[in-house]
Structure formats: structure tokens, C-alpha cells
Assembly symmetry: C2
Homo-oligomer: 299 residues x 2
């Protein structure tokens, strides 16, 4: 956690523990032939990951006095969606990766069929979790959470972004297209994590503008930092294979802007993200720390 | 549609047209590099399929005066879940099938990565559709639909059943285990299709017992008929590769009971399903016809 403030470090640890506990409860291995499926879901969800999206759910929820258990369930659902997308993106037919979060990918530790099903089941579990009355007593809140997450996961969000990313190997994308691709592929679920806090807090539309701006700028800064890590990072620290974009001839923010301008752009976005929080006091310091950390992180 | 009554034939045609129209509206191909993703989703969803699950949603909804547009959206969402599961089950790492519904499977017509993503995107779209206020004005109904479908799709339903099915090649299952496997793999989403009508109709729990019994018996009868078709059917009519279970050494209702007893058992289940409808008059004739058709169908 190089570069993280002490408060952020503590929050990241707390959130990581909470999300591990939630997945542990959710994924009790049954005594039948589905055991490998559950083991694969546990392998992918428990004990690793930055938990950036859950932290965003908690940090945004805190601004509106949301019950911690409600936030924890929404955060777990969104992390389940994120993890399912990693499992499927890592498959041989997709990005073909062997290592993820410092561990063998699911299709390596188990097999391809189990990896496909583990991703599919986490996908479904996320929506079952969100729709459950235990997540929020108000069904309007639950339905809005489902709509928000489903939109972020589908062809107008993560799924569509991953398709564009696969096509990126075949054609040369310009900066506007790469920005749009990344806004879909990673930006949509990051924005949805912040939006979950707004939904759980029943914040009216006019009160959502600042945090939405924060989430948009943070998502883009995060992706530029990811592209820089792909070029400059240490594979052991990052926990996955690096230098893949250049090898595949994919355009990234770094290939299009160069390292210096990419870093400068990410810095501007972080400043801008923090400015969007001007209506909030100390209670938003975690979101500010998180924005700054985006550029300092080594994984 | 051999064996279907005239009323059922007309209903199947109407439902097929309606579902095609819904998917056509939902899946407008965008003018960017996501076009193959949308083309793949259209290939899998439009112009084929028995539409058994949508018909169940419509037929159950009709008993409670549900608005046809609400039923159509719920039916489309459930069919999207069914189609996504077919796309993923057909992948080389899973059942490795080349033909589905008389057409090349998605990974054959496109490629594996596109097939995985098309399945994932249909999965997300289903929940986006259900959570949308256009599906029902009452958010409680929307959240209940999401919970029902997500549970039926996940590790306690279809996903778990498919995992058990993959394991079935490795171990010898008895009749109780095969029954449980099929109740999860196909029964859960069939039951959920009927339940969607109950949810949309805001039927209280005590009013749901009869239709739930119908759905449970119908689902099992349908699967036994599927196992019989796998042994006796014509590949061109059924539109997929047959005789796979025996080749893979998988136990089925037919391998465990023999053809005659399997057919007899399915007949008993159909009678039992129809008995569960005793509290309904003519308005449930479509459900009765559908139960009888289960055994007569040639695809």
C-alpha cells in the first residue's frame, strides 16, 4: 500500500477483511458435486484484490449515514461482478492470463469449464444479493441498485468495453476511442460503486452531481495509472502479467500520450476529482486520500 | 409443433413473434467495435427456440390479469438467461456443441471470446430489463423478479446444475441425484417462469401453491422428454446434436429407468401437473395443453 495515507491504509484493511468475511459466508461449500464450483468462487474472491470498488461503496455510503451492513452487501455484490469479469477476461479465449492477484487464475487452478461457471455464478449471486431484502428494506433502493449494476456490467458498460478491448488488437484506436473504451470497461463499475452509496443514501438526483463527477475523473485517472503500471510496474507487486498491451499492439493512454503527458493528465484528473468533493467536509477525506493514492499505488 | 393443440400452436407462434420483437428492440447494433457482440447476441436470441419459458410467463400471467407488456419484458429477461446459458454450455470447454436450434453455435458463427461475452451481456441485460420501471410500476415486484431469476440462474439453480452435469461424466449418479441435478439445471428456470406470472400478478404466498406444483412437475416431465428425445429424436428436427449422454457415459432418466418406464413416469408427472391446476377454469387451458405437449413434441 505504498503511497496510501494511514487512514486509507486502515480503511483498505477493514474493507478487505469485511469483504473476505462476506464472501466466506456467501460461499459455503456444499457437500455435493458442486464443491469444485464453490471452491473456484472462493479462490477468486477471498484473500486478495485491492477492493477498490468496495472501498468506494463504503466511503460514499458513509457520507449519507448508510447502515454499514447494507453497504457491505452492496459492496460485495459489486466486487462479485468485478471478480466474475476478471475470471472470464483471463480465459484462454480472451486475454489468456495465468496469474491474477498473485495467484493462478481460476482456469489454471481448476479448469476452463469451472472458470466459466464460477464467473457466471458470481454474476448471478451479485444480483441475488442486491435484490434481497437484507440489503435494504426499501424495494425501490434494491431495484435501483440492480439496475445500476446491471447497466454497468452489460454491453453498454463492462461487457461492451471488453469487446472493444478485444477488437483493439485488430485496429488502431485514437485517444477519444480509448477514453470511451476505458470509460465502459473499468469506468462504469467504478462509477456504479460510488452511485451505490448515493442510492443506499436515497440522495435525490440534484445531490448526486458532485460525487458522479468525482467517480468519472477517478475512474479515468485509475485507468491511466493502470496503463503506466503496465509499462513501469513490477509483476510480483502488481500480481499479474505486465507489458501485454505493447506486445499486442494495443493503444493505451501511455502509447498515445507518452509517459510524461499521461502522468500529467492523471494528476489533473485527480485534482479535478477532489474538487468535485468541495461540498463535503472531513467526512469525504477518505475519498480524497483514495484519489491521491491512485497515482502512487504500486499494484 | 407436432402434438400441440391449435390453441397452443397459435400461442407458441404469438409468443415467438413477441420475443423476437423484444430482442430486436433491445439489441440495436451500435456503430462501433461492439457490433460483433450485438450481432452474436442477435444470432442467439432472434428467430429460433421453442420459447417454452416465455410461454410459461405469458400463460401464468394471464391467470392474474397481468399487463401483456409487463409479461413480455419479464419473459424476454428469462429467455435471455436461458439463451446465455445455452451459449456458455455449448462452448468447447463445456459441452462443445456446433449446432443449436438448427444454427451454428455462437462460438462457431463468431469466436469463443465473442460467445463468452455475448452470454455475459445477455445475463446482465436480463437483470437490467427486470429492474427497469417499465417492467412493473411497483419496485417490490421488480426486486422480487430479480431475486427469483438470480436465484434460478446461480449456483443453487442453473449454474450449480450445469456444474453437477459436468461432474456426471466422472461419476455414476443414481436416480435421486439425476433428479436433483435436473431440478437445478432446467427445473429452476422453468419454475421461475411460472413464478414470474405469480409475482407480476402480486399473488400472495398461499395462492402460489398450485402453480408451483404444476411448474415442478412440468419441469421434470420436460427433462424426461428431453432425455427420450436424445435417444429417439431426429437431429434435424431437434436442431442440436443428439445421442451425447450415452457417448459420454452420463446417467439420464432413460438410462436409469429404461425408455418405457421413463415415458410412463413423464406421463404421470404431466397428469399430476394438470391436477395442480384444478382451482383454475378455462383460462388455464393453455398451461394444460402445454403440459400434454411436453410428451408429444419432436424438438
Amino acid at each position: 500500500m505504498a503511497g496510501a495515507s494511514l487512514a486509507l491504509q486502515a480503511a483498505l484493511r477493514d474493507v478487505a477483511e469485511e469483504i473476505d468475511r462476506q464472501f466466506d459466508l456467501l460461499l459455503t461449500v456444499p457437500g455435493d458435486s458442486r464443491a469444485p464450483l464453490y471452491a473456484a468462487m472462493r479462490h477468486a474472491t477471498i484473500g486478495s484484490g485491492k477492493r477498490l470498488r468496495p472501498l468506494l461503496v463504503f466511503a460514499a455510503s458513509r457520507l449519507f449515514g448508510v447502515d454499514r451492513q447494507c453497504a457491505a452487501r452492496a459492496a460485495t455484490a459489486i466486487e462479485a461482478i468485478h471478480v466474475y469479469s476478471l475470471i472470464h477476461d483471463d480465459l484462454p479465449a480472451m486475454d489468456d492470463d495465468d496469474v491474477r492477484r498473485g495467484k493462478p487464475t481460476v482456469h489454471k487452478a481448476f479448469d476452463e469449464a469451472t472458470a466459466i461457471l464460477a464467473g457466471d455464478c458470481l454474476h448471478a449471486l451479485a444480483f441475488e444479493l442486491l435484490a434481497d431484502p437484507a440489503t435494504h428494506a426499501d424495494p425501490f433502493v434494491r431495484a435501483e441498485l440492480v439496475g445500476c449494476v446491471a447497466h454497468a456490467a452489460g454491453p453498454a458498460g463492462m461487457g461492451g468495453g471488453q469487446m472493444m478491448d478485444l477488437e483493439a488488437e485488430k485496429s488502431r484506436f485514437d485517444l477519444a476511442t480509448v477514453t470511451r473504451l476505458q470509460a465502459m470497461k473499468t469506468g462504469a463499475l467504478i462509477a456504479c460503486s460510488v452511485e451505490a452509496g448515493l442510492i443506499l443514501g436515497r440522495v435525490p438526483p440534484e445531490g448526486r452531481i458532485g460525487l458522479r463527477g468525482y467517480a468519472r475523473d477517478l475512474g479515468l485517472a485509475f485507468q491511466i495509472a493502470d496503463d503506466l503500471l503496465d509499462v513501469e510496474g513490477d509483476e510480483a507487486a502488481v500480481g499479474k502479467k505486465l507489458r501485454k498491451d505493447a506486445a499486442q499492439g494495443k493503444e493505451t493512454f501511455v502509447s498515445l500520450l507518452g509517459r510524461d503527458r499521461a502522468r500529467e493528465q492523471a494528476g489533473l484528473l485527480v485534482d479535478q476529482a477532489i474538487e468535485h468533493l468541495q461540498n463535503y467536509g472531513d467526512e469525504a477525506d477518505l475519498l480524497r486520500d483514495l484519489a491521491r493514492y491512485t497515482l502512487e499505488r504500486d499494484r
